[in-house]
């Protein structure tokens, strides 16, 4: 795997990074640059495709192939690329506005098809590049430039949305937790189909501190419900137990820990992962973190190419002359 002996430097492009000082995107970029050599994939076989938004500048800073496309459409472009080039490793870089608002349709369809894309959704719960309007992930009541009296919209939970679309790999992580982010990237890369990774990302300019609840040392241990496959799901103070067909939170002090749900990321039934995703509210006081779901289903481009291969095997390769001469023909002498 490490034959190529690539390093972080090999994946760093010569472009000056132009995010605001303190932006969470820096740490995600740095983590990605450090992680990529581990894949053992040559740089030329890796493609990053992004939409529009602050995070969508990401591809410029990686010395791989990259495309900074248009707003919301990266999953569509990446799908065409992945289907026609199954030899490539394709990442999609998107944000909460890009993926959940203007590009919502492409996101859910890429996920339900299980196209082999690794989708990194930078969620800062705000529109940064357009300077501070509320996003579809902003909490209800949010005061922003476009909602001076508070937003009325019920936000999307990106993880619930992805699981609703029957995504085969869904995870949540945090920009500043390099170790956790790296581990999630590792698992996503090993996954055969679509992977959706929600990354809580701080926007220091327009939504600073949005994720302090799960980042500050004082509150994070009590707020983050750690999901590790085969381990009980809990934070330092709360745990998750079964409640009929669903799940609920309980204070650890009130139960025997043997009652805790042992996390099964491979559970084929999406309602389990969905129930996990519903444990968190906008206040982030109880936030499941880690891999919600990691199940196997044939990847889309693999199926497309298998179908082509089997048709060519059974019918033989197409013969243009025969095709043009098919149907009722007649000869004029």
């Amino acid at each position: 795997m490490t034959d190529l002996a690539l390093t972080k430097k090999d994946f760093t492009s010569d472009q000056e990074v132009r995010w605001c000082p303190g932006c969470g995107d820096y740490s995600v970029l740095s983590t990605m640059q450090s992680f990529l050599p581990e894949l053992g994939i040559p740089r030329e076989d890796i493609v990053f495709i992004s939409g529009i938004g602050c995070s969508s500048r990401f591809p410029y800073y990686l010395n791989t192939f990259g495309m900074h496309s248009i707003h919301g459409r990266a999953p569509a472009i990446a799908s065409g690329l992945a289907i026609s080039r199954p030899d490539l490793t394709v990442f999609v870089i998107t944000g909460d506005g890009d993926a959940l608002s203007i590009g919502g349709n492409h996101l859910i369809h890429a996920l339900r098809r299980n196209v082999e894309l690794k989708i990194l959704l930078f969620n800062n719960r705000i529109y940064g590049l357009t300077k501070g309007q509320y996003s579809p992930a902003s909490e209800q009541g949010k005061i922003t430039k476009s909602t001076p009296y508070g937003s009325l919209d019920t936000p999307f939970n990106p993880v619930s949305l992805a699981i609703g679309a029957e995504a085969t790999f869904v995870a949540r992580t945090i920009d500043s937790d390099r170790k956790h982010l790296t581990e999630v990237l590792r698992q996503a890369a090993a996954h055969k189909g679509s992977a959706l990774i929600e990354i809580y990302q701080n926007c220091p300019i327009f939504n600073d501190g949005a994720f302090d609840q799960v980042k500050d040392n004082e509150t994070k241990e009590g707020s983050l419900l750690q999901m590790v496959h085969g381990q009980p799901i809990k934070s330092s103070t709360y745990g998750v137990i079964r409640d009929g067909g669903s799940l609920k939170l309980v204070e650890l002090s009130t139960i025997d820990e043997s009652q805790l749900v042992i996390h099964d990321a491979h559970d084929l039934d999406p309602s389990y992962a969905f129930a996990l995703s519903r444990l968190s509210g906008s206040d982030l006081e109880h936030t499941p973190i880690g891999i919600f779901r990691d199940v196997q289903r044939p990847g889309y481009s693999a199926m497309v190419n298998d179908q082509l291969t089997s048709i060519i095997q059974s019918q033989g390769a197409g013969d243009l002359e025969k095709l043009l001469n098919s149907g009722d023909t007649w000869v004029v002498d």
Binding site: I70, R73, S79, G80, L323
Partner: protein
Amino acid sequence: MTSEPGSGKMSFMSKPTIAVKSVIIRFAGDSGDGMQLTGDRFTMDTASLGNDISTLPNFPAEIRAPQGTLPGVSSFQLHFADHHVRTAGDAPDVLVAMNPAALKANIKDIPRGATIIVDKDEFTTRNLTKVGYEANPLEDGSLSSYKIHPVALTSMTVAALAELPLSRKEAERAKNMFALGLLSWMYHRPTEATEAFLKAKFAKKPDILEANLIAYRTGWNYGETSEDFATSYEVAPAHMSPGVYRNIGGNIALAYGLIAAAQQSGLKLFLGSYPITPASDILHELSKHKKFGVVTFQAEDEIAAVGSALGASYGGALGITTTSGPGIALKSEMIGLGVMLELPLIIIDVQRGGPSTGLPTKTEQADLLQVMFGRNGESPAAVIAASTPSDCFTMAMEAVRIATTYRVPVFLLSDGYIANGSEPWKIPDVATLPDLSVEFAKSQEDFLPYLRNPETLARPWAIPGTKGIEHRIGGIEKQDKTGEINYEPANHDFMVRTRQAKVDGIEVPDLDVDDPTGDATTLFLGWGSTYGPISSAVEVLRGNGEKIAQAHLKYINPFPKNLGAVLEKYQNVITPEMNLGQLAMLLRSKYLKDIVGYNMVRGLPFTTAELVEAAMGVLHND
């Protein structure tokens, strides 16, 4: 005898035969009556006799409008002759009307003296009332100036199938085959191909197959034995250059052209498409041909359709999207990205009536300015147009040539008329198809993704997987040569002009002008599917001793280099368009030449007669 059961051979005995030069037949019925299939089969059988043909299907947007109503009428017109035909014809010689609605909806197009065959069983009080006939037109004398044949189509079909284990409804459904059989007898069409077609279509439904075969033969025998039909007609084969022919519709020809282009270029064909009338048949056709390595991706929407095609193109495939006008509107931003990324992209617009949902099943040419200019910024793309159904094959290959040579989005315009219409096509020899091979950028040091070919101004097609040329591109303005983000004023101005110069410099063939006497002062200049009606009008005009030149634009952006000189040569230029003057606007603005427009947007192709009249007005200053 008239038929040998099971042999599929039918022969004539007793009735006189009259030779005619050309015939126009319109089959009309309820949209559930199978008129398109009936028309298709008659066309195939006619083509195999060597007549030249042109067809025009006309159907409602509703899949099954309420039975027996005017909005539910579907028709199929074909024109066949012993000489070259250009259009499906202005005025039918024969109308087959399967019910009162079909009669009422079509009678205005039928010239006096024409033959009308109706299914008299359908002329019930209830059906007549439904379409507003106060009296039965078969009885009230209103059709006395036509040769009217009331035939008990339904009841004879049902009676012929009495032995089969079918419900009455199932038996009635075969009546279109009765009609086809009758018309096949009237015009001496061979029956083997249709019988073979039915056998293949209903191979798994032996009762239905038997019903259709019996109905078909019964219709034929009825013509031969009924006293109502005294004569049959013969149309001699047309003179055509030697070769193997088939009948082909525009959408199929387009699909074949794309497959051929993929083969000739060595590229994998990737179609990203979202179903839309009247373009969906291209998606259907291509999806059948996976053994050619064709990938068809039915995307979630029009934007994803073109986006996936652009993504595939970025990866080195032949990225194609097919749609109609409303789809182009949705795809515009992505096409702009294609302009900026300078990647090959083929966008096929099978135009229909607009604006908005408009007339989905009808034809129009009103997307020209949309494809020329319907994007933000200075966003030039190539625009070419097919002129006939079979020309779609050639122009599909041209679209690929231009897109891959110049790394640019190319619009190929077709429309509902040529997409659904058909004509005989001399099948090309595969060995003579153009070489469309492409070159990708090779591994190299200090790669510059926007370093241009000095002749074509194309940038390298630099696909992922090629070591050493990793680079980033995007929709933000780029620096010349490096492709890096650049906001400098002079660079933007340079890049805008360079993208325009690239499109302006696309090599396209000169415009051919047909001016047999060489001294005409009036030119008929069209584009797209008006080719048939204009050519037909030109023939009539010349037959009447008029001097008129004809030229047809297949390349619209850029225009052929000689177009300015051609326009200058003629005092009058008449441009018929199924829009309010879109090509005329382009010509006037570029060449400062006045253009006489002839513009109608009825959802139907022009008639020969109206174009003759329009030209006469110009020729004689009326």
